[in-house]
């Protein structure tokens, strides 16, 4: 279970997140929509501990991160949180000096201290499920955007995160590839993963999400089941946004 309560984040005097609250069940997908600058990306960066939160709490499978903890305790909990949360960045950030296989086993071997053999066997399974098994020995520099994305997903999943965050996964894909990504993500949900996906493509999110969160100006304007939010939005701001998006 993932629960975010009254989450606040400031950059200097600018409050970027003004008290975000939502809760999602395991094995569901939350799609986050909103205009650029609405705070979507900052929300994602708070959830994986890349930004320090200024108020509220984040709870994820027994880890509770909250503002106002001592520095040492906060860092300890961020470390725990990061083991529960995996991230697929918009630009993937694969490690260019490591092979595809090396990218995937790096963290299991050096953070979880899994034996290299076990980690490799698991990596091949993951690569197989994202359709990249044949590229295990290649280097990121020789892969296309879509291939990089699949490797990045496999790399994040190799750490067995309870929650997988995806930042703009559709920005690099043509419609055909979007469909196959959607199918791929759903298979991982069926295997037990929970996801939060930021995307500008409402069509993509409509097909993959269980719930939708609409953000504007750092506020969670509307949160609810995908069908309800997209088809009969309650808030006029959501209506405006969806109309313009069409």
């Amino acid at each position: 279970m993932i629960r975010v309560t009254d989450l606040r984040k400031r950059f200097g005097n600018d409050e970027i997140l003004k008290g975000i609250t939502f809760e999602i069940a395991p094995q569901t997908v939350l799609g986050v929509i909103g205009a650029s600058g609405s705070g979507k990306s900052t929300l994602l960066r708070c959830l994986n501990g890349l930004e320090t939160i200024d108020g509220g709490t984040i709870e994820c499978n027994g880890v509770r991160l909250e503002a106002g903890l001592s520095h040492a305790e906060y860092r300890r909990r961020v470390k725990e949180l990061r083991l529960k949360v995996g991230t697929v960045f918009q630009h993937f950030y694969l490690f260019p000096h490591l092979s595809v296989l090396g990218n995937i086993i790096e963290a299991p071997v050096h953070v979880l201290h899994s034996p290299k053999k076990t980690a490799e066997a698991e990596a091949f399974e993951l690569l197989d499920s994202v359709g990249m098994k044949q590229a295990a020995r290649r280097y990121p520099g020789s892969l296309s955007g879509g291939e990089l994305q699949r490797v990045a997903i496999a790399r994040a999943l190799a750490m067995h995160p309870a929650l997988l965050l995806l930042d703009e996964p559709t920005s690099a894909l043509d419609p055909r590839r979007m469909n196959s990504l959607r199918a791929l993500l759903r298979t991982f949900v069926d295997r037990g993963h929970t996801m939060i996906i930021i995307s500008h493509s409402i069509g993509f999110l409509g097909g993959v999400s269980d719930n939708i969160l609409f953000m504007e100006g750092g506020v969670a304007v509307e949160f609810g089941p995908t069908g309800e939010v997209l088809n009969s939005p309650q808030d006029p701001r959501t209506k405006d946004f969806l109309q313009q998006a069409e």
Binding site: N48, G49, L50, K79, R82, L83, V85, G86, T87, F89, Q90, H91, F92, Y93, L94, F95, P96, H97, S99, E106, A107, H110, V111, L112, Y139, P140, G141, S142, L143, S144, G145, L148, Q149, R155, A156, M159, S171, A172
Partner: protein
């Protein structure tokens, strides 16, 4: 008509009592030979003009016409005779062995067989030591030799008596070991074929000996002794000229096999210094880079200060400071170690900047990706950031290493026998500047080319497997 000049060359640095800078009046030169040349010039109807030069290169400077005569306690040796002309002798010198006052092991040159003895390069003393197979370290001036003796870097010093009397006798920590030994001649050196000037100079020497001018000068400088009385007597009694044959001349013939062996040993020292200092630079550069890049304010200030100090002052000055300055607070390292540490500290400043630039070139996303996989900052740095930065840093590091190799030559300033020192000394002793120069260049290339080749191969291997790397990843299609 303008008065003719007599341009004379000598090395005034540490040159007392021959010719040196007047401590009370640093814009002037003084010394017994300065006064003697003034007297000679007067006798020749010329005006003396001093050309400060370098002991080691006096002969070649004379040949290049930088001045007309060498007057610098020059001994008429066989190898010099092939290159230049000698005047009549004007002084009888002897050698003196000096040791530390509390050192009772050495009382004559025969006790020095397995000790390191310091002396000036290419002098009667250095040739004598070489002939007797005594390990010697050559210095550019007596000050450095006696200081190293005090600091126990060497065990004894052999020097011509005039220099010994001036530099070692007043030092209470040193003592003369045994009486002065061997007798040799000082002459004036002239260019080959300059016979007219030689006649003029010889006549002037006779004149200032005959009329007692030289005696007065030598007495004034405390250099008048029985040997001079004996030497001057025939000239002053009649017109009989001095018999040169009565005095030893410490000639050595140039031996190519031995020279190449010495060059090989010098090359080994060069490699040792270069490799050792590169290890220091590569290792120390990293904390400097990280401190300056991500450290707390005090660490950043310290690292910046370090880098600016070592980049902003000449490496030669740093070496002299380490070699002569540190012993004041009780740290006396041998010359090769001083060069190794000094160059290491110096190049660490440069390497740190190479590292810093390389580390900063790694996109922040690499850090974030590592963090979000649960890596600690240390692990992320070690496994993700550093290997990528290393690839960027490798070409400039190779460049630095090659230039470090050549920079080892500054170690000659602190009497380390590396390749450049070897070239200077062997070439000055033999006059074989061209051939030895080619040999030394071959040695340098033999060391730097394989290294450059190795670095290129490593670079190629690293870049082969990650061609086109970041570009595609940063701009997804």
């Amino acid at each position: 008509m303008a008065q003719k000049v007599l341009r004379w060359g000598a090395d005034p640095s540490g040159g007392a009592p021959y010719v040196f800078t007047d401590p009370a009046n640093p814009d002037r030169y003084i010394g017994y030979e300065k006064e003697m040349v003034d007297a000679l010039a007067q006798a020749m109807g010329r005006r003396a003009e001093f050309v400060p030069s370098d002991w080691e290169t006096l002969v070649s400077a004379l040949q290049r016409n930088s001045f007309d005569v060498i007057v610098n306690g020059l001994e008429p040796t066989g190898d010099r005779a092939q290159q230049i002309l000698f005047s009549k002798p004007y002084y009888i010198f002897q050698l003196q062995l000096t040791v530390r006052r509390d050192d009772n092991r050495i009382n004559s040159i025969d006790d020095c067989k397995n000790r390191i003895v310091g002396t000036l390069a290419n002098t009667a003393a250095s040739r004598l030591l070489e002939q007797q197979g005594i390990p010697l370290r050559s210095y550019a001036d007596p000050v450095g030799a006696y200081r190293d003796l005090e600091l126990k870097r060497i065990d004894a010093v052999v020097m011509d008596v005039p220099a010994e009397a001036f530099y070692a006798r007043p030092n209470t920590k040193l003592r003369p070991a045994g009486p002065p030994f061997t007798r040799g001649l000082y002459v004036i050196g002239l260019r080959k074929g300059d016979l007219a000037l030689k006649t003029e100079v010889d006549a002037a020497i006779d004149k200032i000996i005959f009329d007692g001018t030289l005696e007065n000068i030598l007495k004034k400088w405390g250099l008048w002794n029985d040997a001079q009385v004996e030497f001057q007597a025939p000239i002053r009694s009649g017109t009989q000229s001095t018999k040169v044959e009565e005095y030893t001349s410490t000639t050595t013939t140039f031996n190519w096999g031995e020279a190449l062996w010495r060059l090989t040993r010098a090359a080994a020292v060069t490699v040792l210094i270069a490799l050792g200092s590169m290890v220091i630079a590569v290792v120390l550069g990293l904390p400097l880079a990280v401190g300056q890049w991500k450290g707390p304010a005090w660490a950043r200030a310290f690292c910046t200060l370090y880098v600016e100090f070592f980049r902003g002052t000449p490496v030669l000055v740093q070496l002299l400071f380490l070699y002569f300055g540190l012993p004041v607070i009780g740290i006396a390292m041998p010359g090769w170690l001083t060069a190794l540490v000094g160059l290491g500290l110096n190049y660490a400043a440069y390497e740190s900047q190479v590292y810093r630039a390389s580390l900063e070139a790694i996109p922040n996303g690499q850090w974030e990706a590592a963090y979000s996989l649960g890596m600690s900052p240390v692990l992320a740095f070690r496994r993700i950031i550093m290997p990528q930065a290393f690839r960027i840093a490798l070409p400039p590091m190779t460049n630095d290493f090659v230039s470090l190799f050549k920079d080892t030559s500054v170690a000659f300033a602190i009497s380390v026998w590396e390749l450049a020192t070897a070239y200077r000394e062997l070439a000055n002793a033999s006059g074989q500047f061209l051939l030895l120069g080619l040999a030394v260049s071959a040695f340098y290339l033999a060391m730097s080319l394989p290294m450059a080749h190795l670095a290129r191969r490593l670079e190629r291997r690293l870049s082969n497997r990650t061609t086109e790397r970041l570009v595609e990843q940063e701009a997804p299609v």
